[in-house]
Symmetry: D2
Subunit: 265 residues, 4 copies
């Protein structure tokens, strides 16, 4: 395929495209053309909007203790299982929860993982501000690469493949199961890592199930690659990787986490 209506084509090449793809046009004459750069908005879509489903109400202090074989990644006391970009994780711990400190960078587990079940709880602050992606934005990265979006999606519209519980820029959640700011949300994630061949090509893709507040929002979704903000997903061979939490560094109030544990599968 690759079909242009011929009358439009000269115009396209001579005017519209020329403005912003000078570098690209040159590349076409070279040996290895690069794909024309995209904008982040090109991979954002707004419809259909996942239906809002209200999770059953639970008391705020229902913190289920981890099972006996879990590795506890945060027990309410310290960030000793985590590291930051320059060594120590610099987010704050207080009252059994830890909170993003903007500008200190992402944090990630010291331990690395392959296939697992991850339990993580997070709270949007009750006085959250901003809108769209600028309201409680963070993210949980499987193996440091594949992002499950964290955002305040309670009465906050954004592109659906970027709302809370989306596989970022790949798959919106099946429904919007977000609790209100000030209440604790739970993600239970079942993750199967991709496998690669010796030559670096993909053997089997990553798959992910996400249950938010007891409601299935991703049902064994097959990822087509990593989860970039700009451009298309792509797989690059890798081994085990950490759980990474994002310091999104936007103007909204920082979010908090508690009761994080993981079980290898």
């Amino acid at each position: 395929m690759h079909k242009h209506i011929s009358l439009l084509k000269p115009f396209f090449l001579l005017s519209g495209l020329a403005f912003f793809t000078g570098a690209y046009a040159q590349n076409q004459q070279a040996q290895v053309p690069e794909p024309m750069p995209m904008k982040s908005q090109m991979t954002e879509y707004y419809e259909p909007v996942p239906k809002v489903v209200t999770p059953g109400a639970v008391p705020s202090n229902w913190v289920v203790p981890p099972p006996s074989d879990a590795m506890v990644l945060f027990d309410g006391k310290d960030l000793s299982k985590w590291k930051g970009k320059d060594g120590e994780a610099k987010w704050t711990v207080s009252d059994g929860v830890f909170t993003v400190v903007k500008g200190t960078g992402d944090i990630e587990t010291k331990e690395t993982f392959e296939d697992y079940q991850l339990h993580i709880e997070f709270k949007i602050p009750v006085d959250i501000q901003g809108e769209g992606q600028y309201r409680g934005n963070s993210g949980i990265f499987m193996q440091g690469i594949y992002e499950v979006q964290l955002l305040d999606s309670y009465n906050n519209r954004t592109y659906v493949n970027g709302q809370a519980g989306s596989i970022y820029k790949q798959s919106p959640p099946l429904v919007n199961a977000m609790r209100k700011p000030g209440e604790w949300n739970v993600y239970d994630i079942i993750y199967t890592a991709p496998r690669f061949k010796e030559d670096g090509s993909l053997h089997s893709p990553a798959r992910i199930t996400v249950i938010q507040n007891g409601i299935v929002i991703q049902n064994n979704f097959t990822l087509t690659g990593n989860t970039p903000n700009v451009g298309l997903p792509k797989y690059t061979k890798h081994g085990k990787g950490p759980i990474k939490l994002q310091d999104h560094n936007d103007p909204s109030k920082p979010i908090s986490f508690r009761n994080i544990w993981i079980r290898n599968l």
Copy 2:
């Protein structure tokens, strides 16, 4: 393949086999031989034993209310969403739970389903008796056909592909996440129905994820067919089907259920 050591073969045919397969031998001379009948024990294996994992302790009254889009199959009051073999479901309802009445037969939902998320809670009676398969045995059948085993598997050894949380005779649970008799167990089940072609052959198999008490015990397991007690799994074309609960009718004490809801996926 199909390799017999030739010296043994005549012996096999003339003695051991002859005793119990007269019908089979005749069939071989007919147009359509039947497979030689199996015994139930032939599809039961005992090793490796799934590791015991103790779920986090929770108060007995932690009954999470269903999400807003769930169909509640049992709300503690009556069995109006269920039917028995002769019409009415004859199990007893009391104190917000319902209990198997042995000899009254299986019960199943009046509604039928395809792909779904099912939440179900069950309790082995504190004074349970018996052992192996004769101790708290019941089962939850997806679409009335594919069984997730219910059993008291707390300190009760049986064949591993028949213990609690197994896909009966197909897949043992990844771990043994059973709570003690007298405590409530939760199964959260994510089920994808098989699809069939017009000619009745299989398009895509059933898949199931089971989370027991917050612990993944079946991870997107692909079923190879139905779950018979005797013989091999097999797919036969079908449409939507009910959730069925089994009256196993064994000498052990009857088990109870509460808080059952389902969401179509």
Copy 3:
């Protein structure tokens, strides 16, 4: 995620983007923003280049007769199994082959199909001209929707996810198994149609295996949707569909087909 360096963002919105996305900017203020339009070149990439593999040489007249259960879609005589946009298929039949007549439009089978094995042979004319996508371009559309690219990819570089044997804009061929212009190429395609749920959402994606001249070039590739020239793949519920062949209407010489048959799977 969704991370902009804040200093760049105002500039982006006010200048670069403004030129060509006026309509988009307005949409953002409306209820339902549209994704920002893409250019076709944004989904075209050139690396890594599939290795060239030379198929074993065979005489030009090795035309394997179809198996006894195949539906023959072209037997060398006429296009009675095909139709064009206005009724009749207007491509020419001569000497046991048929040839694209540019400007007469795509042709498709009168019969529709779901899962199947398709055998199709095509020849790039010996005096082919043009380069890149403008050299022997056509396409075979599964169910009228999902394109396996036809192109002269013998010593003719283009974006790899648009060369012969690619799943157009989704997957380059594993290797380049193209025969020379003037020689007959064979595609043997094993196609599994996607299935949809009642609500229109996807149950299971389309999968495709392509063997070109006896060489596996697509190995059970899972499609992420249709195969548009511009924009991202997307699934839309559909039933059975025809085999469609493309009149690409470019300046290159028309290509020819022979020995086309199909078997339902």
Copy 4:
């Protein structure tokens, strides 16, 4: 589940079963019971019979040369790429083909493989004798473990999951595409090896597509384990493995092979 009609059960335990399961009964009292032994016939079924499809006729000397990137496993001259149980492969080479020599044992490639495309041609001798499994029986084992059945299935009924082109005891061929004795049959096999986790459990099962004489007879079939004659399939962790050909050592005439090549995928 596990439901016996109680009146039958004592009879079952005391008579029929007792005869041949003394060892089993003892095992049940021990710590680790073994599954009750099965007979080979219990995993053999005869219905439905795959439809006979006649492949298109081709001259006997249509031997497509291998593609340029193939590893040629037999080029008509010698068995230098193969080994037998005691070192050398002792099958005979003559006139560009090699032939099983009964009693000399299986042969296998010196090289080992993971994922691949395999082309292999075989001929049932024109004067073949015997019936059922005793007529032209051999087998091709992927990685030395997973068998694609070789047999004369031209007018020769046997259990369908053991006829030519079956995944032995797991999956009958979709159709019977066998050529007559004396004619060359071709298998084109696309094989994806299973992958295992570090702990030995299965990550992803083996999958196989088989095209016999140009006709798809296995369509991306997912194996549930190895392919034993007696008992149930089972996965055991392994790495790369050879292509193995079976010396079945039955009274029928030996079969021959030619033009074997493989491409890593």
